[in-house]
């Protein structure tokens, strides 16, 4: 089964990237949680523009992507896990958990280190909250976070299947967590014990700094609970929550060229 999944990896990436978007975007279209405050066109042009640049840049700039690095590391016997004889299932689970922890740590560091925040605030500058925010990253941040993941994959020798599943989960869950959608309250309450739900992650996109410095989780909510950065709900409630950055409220200052230049601005 692992070979079948890995053999069709590019198809699965396509399914997660496009299918994930289509599902959540349709859900938002028919059952939106909040009314959007600014026109969709310019926002989506910026967010999809960044995705196009990032996807192109990563392939062109990095010698290998995450899955390729894992395959290479395994073939050469690199990494800590190659020294330990773990059952396949345990190695897979460990790989998934470690990769999610790495993503949590990179995200938290982006909020705490001022020069990384300059890159990451592009992600937070959107004035509305919908699934396309999951694509809104400055190219330098995309390059940096992908490089950290590559290092972790090679240093730890994470199994290729864990890397593939983690990538697919993160892409699809990124759309879901940023979705302008709400789950039934009881389902959300159950899920958020372990997973990041849209209501939980929306708090992180609040204009209030004390709220945006919480809920850094990518897929698992456990890291925020462990490290004390978990916040159940925004002070103003889900409908009253203001999305974005306090200092950047003008849509005309958030076009694609502005976003690319944003890290250079104070």
């Amino acid at each position: 089964m692992a070979d079948a999944l890995l053999g069709r990896a590019s198809t699965w990436y396509l399914v997660a990237l496009i299918g994930g978007f289509a599902l959540v975007a349709l859900w938002e279209t028919f059952r939106p949680l909040r009314t959007l405050t600014v026109p969709l066109g310019p926002r989506w042009l910026a967010n999809f523009g960044l995705q196009a640049i990032n996807q192109t840049l990563l392939v062109a700039a990095l010698p290998l992507m995450a899955l390729g690095a894992a395959v290479e590391a395994q073939a050469r016997g690199w990494g800590l896990l190659s020294l330990v004889a773990l059952p396949d299932a345990a190695a897979l689970l460990l790989g998934l958990v470690i990769l999610d922890a790495v993503r949590w740590a990179v995200h938290a560091v982006c909020h705490h280190w001022p020069w990384l925040w300059r890159l990451h605030r592009v992600h937070h500058s959107d004035l509305d909250y919908d699934c396309t925010i999951g694509l809104r990253f400055h190219p330098l941040e995309a390059l940096l976070s992908q490089s950290v993941l590559l290092l972790a994959i090679v240093a730890l020798g994470l199994p290729p299947l864990a890397v593939l599943l983690s990538d697919l989960l993160t892409i699809a869950h990124g759309y879901f967590a940023h979705g302008n959608v709400g789950l039934p309250q009881r389902l959300d309450a159950r899920l958020r014990r372990w997973l990041v739900t849209p209501d939980l992650h929306r708090v992180h996109h609040s204009v209030q700094v004390n709220e945006s410095m919480s809920n850094f989780g990518s897929v698992l909510a456990v890291w925020d609970r462990l490290f004390g950065s978990w916040r159940a709900a925004p002070g103003a409630g889900q409908q009253g929550l203001v999305i974005g950055l306090a200092e950047l409220r003008e849509p005309h200052a958030l076009t694609l060229p502005h976003l690319l230049w944003m890290p250079m601005r104070r």
């Binding site: 396509l14 975007a25 349709l26 999809f48 196009a52 192109t56 392939v59 062109a60």
Partner: protein, 57 residues
């Protein structure tokens, strides 16, 4: 124009406009073909969703 016709028209327009660009990018850049097609497919799906949303207003 009905919604299916609008969706088809927008998707076909996107495909006609994007094909020369995709062909150029495939020949002239080191970016693998799946990357280009996945971006184009994403753009086409986004265009379809925008059409549906505009119709619902």
């Amino acid at each position: 124009m009905t919604l299916p016709a609008a969706l088809l028209a927008r998707t076909l327009t996107a495909a006609v406009l994007a094909t020369p660009l995709a062909a150029w990018a495939t020949i002239a850049t080191p970016i693998p073909e799946p990357e280009i097609w996945s971006l184009l497919a994403l753009a086409a799906v986004a265009a379809a969703i925008v059409t549906i949303r505009n119709r619902r207003k």
